[in-house]
């Protein structure tokens, strides 16, 4: 039995069998998505050089959970800001300018900045986590460099047996080119 290099499995995974369709036109890609969904396909990947609401509408995916990260990050940032200022003030109480030791109004500034900082950082974290999670199969699906330029693409994983059917579906929707991978 041949030993499998685990690193190779991560960095050079075996390609997922399927079809890669290249579209020159946005409405053709939207059309194809509609047809694929009608045909019961769910886990196809759509490539586009720009985010287009037409694609989003046709895919009809749930709202990204990134917003929860932002919310939690923001609230915890605010809390950390409050803790930082108040704890540090009372840890070694020093009176300045006749002001109370824990003086809330100036600390609001720190709390606000910490809200934004932690909110932003956790948003990034959220995007990263979610995108990575979504990208766990990314290396294995076929891709074409033109997708970041001016072409739209759809990759449909399929057994070689069903490939022909999918291909005709894609071509019917207006794919300029369909490749098997």
């Amino acid at each position: 039995m041949k030993l499998v290099n685990p690193l190779a499995a991560i960095f050079h995974p075996p390609p997922t069998p399927g079809l890669l369709a290249v579209f020159g036109h946005l409405d053709a890609a939207v059309d194809a998505i509609g047809r694929l969904r009608a045909a019961g396909h769910t886990d196809f990947t759509v490539y586009s050089p720009v985010p287009r609401h037409e694609l989003e509408d046709s895919l009809d995916q749930p709202v990204s959970p990134v917003r929860m990260f932002t919310l939690v990050g923001g609230i915890s940032g605010c809390a950390i800001g409050a803790w930082l200022t108040l704890y540090m003030s009372y840890d070694w109480p020093v009176v300045v300018g006749g002001k109370p030791i824990g003086s809330i109004p100036p600390y609001v500034v720190i709390m606000f900045e910490m809200t934004v900082l932690f909110g932003a950082l956790s948003t990034i974290l959220g995007i990263g986590f979610n995108a990575l999670f979504a990208a766990r199969r990314l290396g294995t699906v076929a891709y074409d460099p033109r997708f970041t330029n001016d072409k739209f693409g759809i990759f449909v994983p399929s057994e070689p047996a069903r490939a022909g059917q999918v291909e005709s579906l894609l071509r019917g929707a207006g794919a300029e080119e369909v490749r098997r991978a």
């Binding site: 009372y90 109480p93 020093v94 009176v95 300045v96 300018g97 006749g98």
Partner: protein, 1000 residues
């Protein structure tokens, strides 16, 4: 500081030093500890010892307490037991330390070799050489020039010069010959009396700058304040002070009225006042008044008013006020005693005192000033003549620098003396021109005594081992020259045997001596002498009535130039002390260089601005001086200070600005003195220099920094009244603020703030403050303030934690010109604006109400300084403590005067007044050791301690029985910029003036 260097100094003198408290903010501590071989008596490391001695910076002879830590003297304070200065000390006296530790001191005997270079000698060699020269010069003329020496050293010099057939000339550039001559004219005695300012009810100063350089400035300022201070509810109202003179000097700034009489007519004014008193019998006239009646008749106010330049009715009013006060005191001095007719002016003022019946009351002959024994300018010019004629084979100079104050004649004459020996500790002009320098000990290192005035026998004792061990007491040198046994101390004690006989009161000499040392001397009362008008009193030209306006005549293109002694540098002897160079002149606020005072009208006429350099040319010399425009001088008069323009003397003095003596005539006046007024031709040079001044704006502009009350209003103030509204807020807002403050206090009540604490506070009575700036130097000495030099003062980088602000009032639209002064230092605000803005809590509030500044925590954002409305925070722009650095402030051995209780600040650190927190903590430590609380009076900050007017009182504001708390409740009290609600801990008590208040 470099401790090893310090140890070497002490080690060489047989001592050692225990663990020195470190100076310097850096973390590097001492690496080595060198113990004493034998612990010195009375000295505990870490605890200061005080030795009583006498100040020799001027002829006043104030008593000193020298504070000694670990064998080195670190501060000079006034000796409270001395009747001369009542425990107070002026800037010059305190700066004596910088003479002691001066980096330009002559460390070894030196002789000039053939090629003109200095060569170090051993003492035996030096003394041998001198011995040989004395032998050689016997009979060919030996002259010994000293400063005023009223004690044993002077006698020794006298004795020695007699022995070798020479003569002893004492020379003081400001020797008040006119006072002696004027007293001789009026009373037939050349004694200089003691003036009882404290009991005077009306003081008229005819030019006498008795707060600056006149006779005994500290003592007279102190007693002047007693008369002139305002105390609510006192029976007698405060004395009125009238200043007569062409220039508003520091003394004049305290006056209630300034009369800028035409120069030279001061005596005429005095006689006119005397005329009014006599003619209208305003006072019980003395029997012999008839002797002057005719002379007085020639000086009726109407006849002389025009010459003086004031209205006759003003003269009459002054005379009435003077006589009615039943305690008038008229003093003449300063420039009035330095005109060619100075003696007559003094005589005229004497007559005024006499006809008002004040001689014997406020003018007391008996406790006479020692200055009467000083030589005259005539003596020196005679010597100069002899020198030039080659009649002096050996010239010895000690404690005088005639080559600076007589730059042309004496310097030239010096060249004709065969051999010149200097005992100077510094290479001043005279020493630099000598052939042999035998460096004397500094007065703080030597035994001596003096008699500043009759009845005061002041002792000088060495307060530390010599900084430079290879220097020798000039007295010891003379004793060895004379072949007499013993040291100068023995000689001194021998002379004190006589005092012991008189005042010993049955004690052994040892007891008497120790007692005298502890108290700084022996102080006795001297019976008053009665004087009568001299028989030939009217023979003086001014009194004949022939010349109504003697002296000098105004001409537009030849204005009169007055040369006056600088308060800080005096005749120039202070010029190599950075504290004095950096001390802003109390009038002009200029540091490090000279200036010429020009009236605004004259400046407008000549089209010159501040800093424009003028060429002033008199018949005797010329100099270039930058203009300082001031309303405090008559339009037809210019004035320049002495002190600068040294050609030698040391790094701080050399080649700095101009030597005002160069303009003066070398010929003595009729009374043997020197004329300090001279006509000059003025030319613009087109050059400009930025004045190294601390003054931003000369006008206070109604900012409420200085409040002034007319006497009539101040007298009406009842206890509990508030003359000055605290805040520009309605009462409800005041209440809300108070409630808020209460709530904040509660909110802060944890940790160090939870317990009741003192709140340190200060009260500054502006009715007493004269602006003399003694406090400024005291602060420099106590708190290790760096001196930054002229260039940095120009860029306003001075470090003066305490500055004296001087604002002019009046001047436009015929309003009388005056000046108001205030000390401005950290107000230790309760709600300090500087504190909350510091990002690292380096500025914070201590539990005892101070505005703490933690130097080692400071990162130097300088936000606090921006936010300080009083602008009393100072930044270390450079490393002033860096050894050998470009901005080094304490070159070796000047660093030995650093106070080990105060951190020397590093570059990049903010610093400010802390109410001398080291003294507060020290008092608290002592109180704790003695299981008691700190009591009122235990703590005196350096400024309050030095203040000759006793204007500053420090204490706990929460202790309602403390002096400061009582003063803070005074109805005259106000807070500077109170509208900002900073709640300062310093209460200023408004200045009180006779007559109307003139706005700035």
């Amino acid at each position: 500081m470099d401790r090893r260097r310090f140890l070497r100094v002490l080690g060489a003198t047989g001592g050692g030093a225990a663990a020195l408290t470190g100076c310097g903010i850096g973390p590097e501590p001492t690496e080595q500890l060198v113990p004493y071989l034998v612990p010195p008596e009375n000295q505990v490391p870490g605890i200061a010892t005080y030795y009583a001695t006498t100040c020799r910076e001027c002829a006043a002879g104030c008593g000193l307490h020298a504070k000694v830590r670990e064998g080195r003297v670190i501060k000079l304070e006034g000796n409270p037991e001395s009747p001369v200065n009542q425990g107070r000390l002026c800037a010059r006296g305190q700066a004596a330390l910088q003479g002691l530790y001066n980096p330009d001191r002559v460390t070894d005997p030196m002789a000039r070799s053939a090629n003109g270079q200095w060569r170090k000698l051993s003492w035996d060699e030096g003394l041998g050489r001198l011995q040989a020269k004395v032998k050689e010069a016997r009979g060919k003329g030996i002259a010994f020039v000293t400063g005023l020496e009223s004690g044993s050293f002077g006698d020794l010099v006298d004795a020695w010069t007699r022995q070798v057939g020479g003569r002893h000339v004492t020379y003081e550039p400001f020797a008040f010959e006119a006072l002696r001559a004027g007293n001789r004219i009026a009373f037939g005695t050349s004694a200089i009396p003691w003036y009882d300012f404290a009991n005077a009810r009306y003081i008229v100063s005819f030019g006498a700058d008795f707060m600056e350089t006149w006779l005994s400035p500290v003592g007279y300022q102190n007693s002047f304040t007693r008369a002139h201070a305002f105390t609510g509810g006192r029976d007698a109202s405060m004395a009125k002070f009238v200043y007569v003179g062409p220039r508003l000097a520091l003394t004049g700034m305290s006056a209630d009225e300034w009369i800028a009489a035409a120069p030279g007519t001061e005596g005429v004014l005095a006689l006119a006042m005397a005329h009014v008193i006599v003619a209208r019998r305003l006072a019980p006239l003395p029997a012999d008044v008839g002797r002057v009646r005719a002379a007085l008749d020639a000086h009726a106010p109407e006849r002389v008013a025009a010459a003086i330049g004031i209205e006759a009715k003003v003269i009459t009013r002054l005379a009435r006020e003077f006589a009615a006060s039943r305690g008038g005191l008229a003093v003449a001095g300063g420039i009035a005693a330095q005109y060619p007719n100075g003696a007559e002016i003094v005589a005229a003022v004497n007559i005024l005192n006499y006809v008002a019946g004040q001689v014997g009351k406020t003018v007391q002959f008996g406790p006479n000033h020692a200055l009467a024994g000083a030589g005259s300018f005539q003596d020196l010019t005679d010597l100069t003549g002899d020198l030039s004629a080659g009649r002096v084979a050996l010239l010895l100079v000690h404690g005088a620098n005639p080559a600076h104050s007589l730059p042309a004649a004496f310097s030239q004459a010096l060249g004709h003396a065969a051999y010149k020996v200097s005992f100077s500790s510094y290479l001043d002009e005279t020493a630099a021109a000598s052939d042999l320098v035998l460096p004397d000990l500094h007065p703080l290192e030597q035994w001596n005594d003096s008699q500043p005035r009759s009845g005061v026998h002041a002792l000088q004792q060495p307060v530390m081992s010599p900084v430079f061990p290879n220097t020798m007491h000039a007295g010891d040198v003379l004793l060895r020259l004379a072949g007499r046994p013993g040291t100068f101390k023995d000689y001194l004690q021998g002379r004190w045997q006589e005092l012991h006989r008189r005042y010993g009161r049955g004690r052994s000499f040892e007891e008497f001596w120790d007692d005298a040392l502890q108290h700084g001397g022996v102080y006795t009362n001297v019976p008053l002498q009665t004087v009568r008008l001299a028989l030939d009193v009217t023979r003086a030209p001014a009194l004949t009535g022939d010349k109504a306006a003697p002296g000098w005549q105004a001409s537009p293109d030849q204005p009169l130039l007055l040369v006056y002694p600088s308060l800080a540098l005096h005749d120039g002897r202070g010029a190599n002390k950075p504290w004095l160079q950096e001390l802003p002149d109390p009038v002009s606020k200029i540091t490090w260089h000279g200036w010429v005072e020009v009236h605004p009208e004259t400046a407008a006429k000549w089209q010159v601005a501040n800093g424009d350099v003028l060429l002033l040319r008199s018949g005797h010399g010329a100099l270039r001086a930058p203009v300082w425009i001031t309303p405090g001088v008559r339009p037809d008069v210019l004035a320049v200070p002495t002190g600068q323009g040294h050609k030698a003397y040391g790094r701080y003095a050399k080649d700095r600005s101009f030597n005002a003596f160069e303009l003066l005539s070398d010929a003595p006046t009729a009374y043997g003195g020197r004329a300090f007024a001279v006509s000059v031709a003025v030319a613009k040079t087109g050059d400009h220099r930025r004045l190294a001044t601390l003054e931003g704006d000369a006008r206070e502009q109604g900012r409420g920094v200085i409040e002034v009350l007319p006497l009539s209003r101040a007298q009406q103030l009842k206890p509990g009244a508030h003359a000055f509204q605290e805040r520009e807020t309605p009462p409800y807002a005041d209440r809300a603020l108070a409630d808020w403050a209460e709530a904040q206090h509660d909110a802060a009540s944890l940790g160090d703030y939870a317990h009741p604490h003192p709140r340190w506070g200060m009260a500054i009575d502006l009715a007493k403050c004269t602006g003399c700036s003694a406090c400024v130097t005291a602060c420099y000495a106590e708190n290790n303030l760096a001196t930054v030099g002229e260039e940095l003062v120009v860029r306003r980088r001075q470090m003066s934690w305490l500055r004296i602000e001087r604002y002019y009032t009046g001047g436009e639209a015929g309003r009388p010109v005056g000046a108001v002064v205030t000390p401005m230092l950290c107000q230790q605000c309760g709600n300090a604006p500087c504190e909350p803005v510091c990002p690292v809590y380096a500025a914070y509030h201590t539990a005892d109400g101070l505005n703490g500044q933690v130097y080692n925590r400071c990162v130097g954002t300088r936000y606090c300084a921006n936010n300080c409305p009083y602008k009393v925070r100072y930044f270390n722009w450079y490393n002033y403590a860096e050894q050998g650095g470009e901005w080094e402030s304490w070159p070796d051995p000047l660093n030995m005067l650093l106070n080990p209780d105060v951190t020397v600040r590093e570059k990049g650190v903010m610093e400010k007044c802390t109410f001398c927190v080291q003294r507060i903590r020290g008092a608290q430590n002592r109180a704790r050791l003695e299981d008691r609380n700190v009591q009122d009076g235990d703590i005196t900050p350096a400024c309050a301690q030095a203040c000759p007017s006793e204007a500053i009182v420090f204490g706990d504001l929460r202790d309602t029985s403390s002096r400061v708390a009582a003063l803070a409740r005074d109805p005259r009290g106000y807070h500077v910029l109170a509208a900002l609600n900073t709640q300062p801990a310093i209460t200023y008590l408004a200045k009180v003036v006779h007559g109307a208040v003139v706005e700035g």
